[in-house]
Symmetry: C2
């Protein structure tokens, strides 16, 4: 199978009639006509074998994850997915791998109406690079995109879904943790098959004051919001602990608080949203959560004092240093 057969067989689709994609895979460029009254939100993520996924991962799950981590960036901006390009370095052109990979990728793309419009394939160490484009409304000349820079002292601090379970699964693979079979499979699904919070991001437009997606861990990604907004925050440790799905079942699974808190605060690979909203918007946030079928938890608040503080059940400052994931540390 040659390069162009591979593209034709697995990655060529007809653009949806009447949509913003005017020309898809097959020319030097794709052509995109943004809807009137919108601007484009654009993000790129690259996934490398052994770093973002294990070499043994199910290719269908990998296809899903490669797009999911990109859709998560659109979600963090409140954008509606439109299109994506896929660049793929493969050790070899293996149809038994490419077919399920493409299925997993395109199933998620279809679920979000996000069209594959182009890309590149080449021989090389396995590497997946996706660039995703979404639309954000512009109302009265103002972009409705959620940014990292809008958090204000007094705002509530929220997280969607659950945190820490992806990292817990990775630690089981690494042999530093043990989990019963069903709990491991659940955590593993979080690691290999994350859910981008696209509907929640869109529902939070005009409500959230700031948002980011959690890819490098809560501490790190919340840190981006705090620095760009020029504020600090405090987090309620009990509420943070409740975010680890592996602890919310009937069993405690033998995870002590300290370990569990580390997973929640600095686990990484979660692809949930961390966001802020004025206290007056609590009902609106709950409505956005219900309408998008996405649970959200209020875990703390934004404060004037810079830095991030963790408070115990009695409101006392806890002494911890949780760092975010850094690819070059």
């Amino acid at each position: 199978m040659g390069e162009f057969d591979l593209i034709a067989r697995f990655f060529t689709r007809t653009p949806r009639a009447g949509g913003p994609v005017r020309l898809g895979v097959g020319d030097d460029c794709a052509l995109l006509q943004a809807s009137p009254g919108t601007q484009l939100a654009i993000s790129s993520d690259m996934l490398v074998e052994g770093r973002h996924f294990l070499s043994t991962v199910d290719p269908a799950r990998l296809g899903h994850k490669a797009l999911a981590v990109n859709l998560s960036d659109l979600a963090a901006c409140g954008a509606t997915p439109v299109a994506f390009t896929l660049a793929l370095a493969l050790p070899r052109a293996d149809a038994r791998w490419l077919e399920p990979f493409a299925q997993g990728l395109l199933a998620l793309a279809d679920a979000h109406g996000c069209e594959l419009i182009g890309g590149d394939t080449t021989q090389g160490p396995l590497n997946l690079c996706i660039t995703v484009m979404g639309e954000v409304p512009v109302v009265d000349g103002r972009s409705q995109a959620l940014l990292r820079s809008g958090a204000r002292p007094g705002d509530d601090l929220y997280v969607s879904g659950t945190l820490g379970d992806a990292r817990l699964a990775l630690e089981v693979f690494r042999g530093t943790q043990n989990l019963p079979g069903p709990a491991f499979e659940a955590a593993r699904a979080r690691m290999e098959c994350p859910t981008p919070r696209v509907a929640l991001g869109q529902a939070l437009r005009g409500i959230a004051s700031a948002a980011a997606d959690i890819s490098d861990g809560l501490v790190g990604d919340l840190g981006h919001i705090l620095r760009r907004s020029g504020v600090g925050a405090s987090i309620d440790a009990e509420r943070a602990l409740s975010l680890l799905a592996a602890r919310s079942g009937p069993e405690n699974l033998g995870l002590d608080d300290d370990t569990a808190l580390g997973l929640v605060l600095a686990g990484g690979d979660d692809y949930e949203l961390v966001f802020t909203a004025p206290a007056a918007a609590r009902e609106a946030v709950q409505a956005a959560s219900r309408n998008s079928l996405t649970p959200v938890t209020r875990i703390g608040r934004i404060e004037k004092q810079p830095g991030l503080r963790l408070l115990d059940a009695r409101g006392q400052l806890m002494d911890r240093r949780d760092e975010s994931f850094d690819h070059f540390k």
Copy 2:
């Protein structure tokens, strides 16, 4: 140096005021507001060490080339460059490599007003993935983008600049060819530092009937035009031979016609434009060439009969099989 220091130090720039980039590097997404009356042309290219460049290449030239091969796709559509994302897998964060790489990349970006708006950095085998975006006018509801599908029987067939010299340099590196020092340096510059024909592409809007960029060799990329247009072509071998810069100097450099023709027809890595235009547009093509300061050569014509034919000086069919480069062959 951590991931975020690296981005801040080498890859963060302030978007040009009043331009289409409304938010650059530093949030979950960049924001782009396309100019009224335009659509976006989008393309991705991935470069892998050992396949698209040698591990010994000057990092400044590599930065140039990574963007140049993407701008070449915009050129083939007649698009005006606007912005790009850069995803980078690096074995290590080495400032002595990153600094010249970023300089080479951003010097070409600045020369084309193409802004770096986002991307990703991760640890892994060296891999560069760029997604580039450009604007194409839409006039009376019709896109002015040059496509591969518009060639018609009777059209003239043109190529910009020179062909085959990049491959000649690669063959010197491989030890299958020898060149005197200055000729080698000239050929090597073509391989490592290609010139995207952006100004020519824009000048050909409304004149060329079809266009593609030559990355996998003339035979292969012209083949895309022929298939998508449902036509064939004949090429004048003498004119094709004149495209090899290494043969146009005072010395013949010992390259026989057969070898030289192979380099021109199937060399690859040229990043010139192959395009077609009605015979009535010859003056307009020459004007586009002059105005864009880009030489073009008429090398043949489009015919109704499918396939590609090579004609000798007497107009006789030559028997050759030149194939295009395929990453999985």
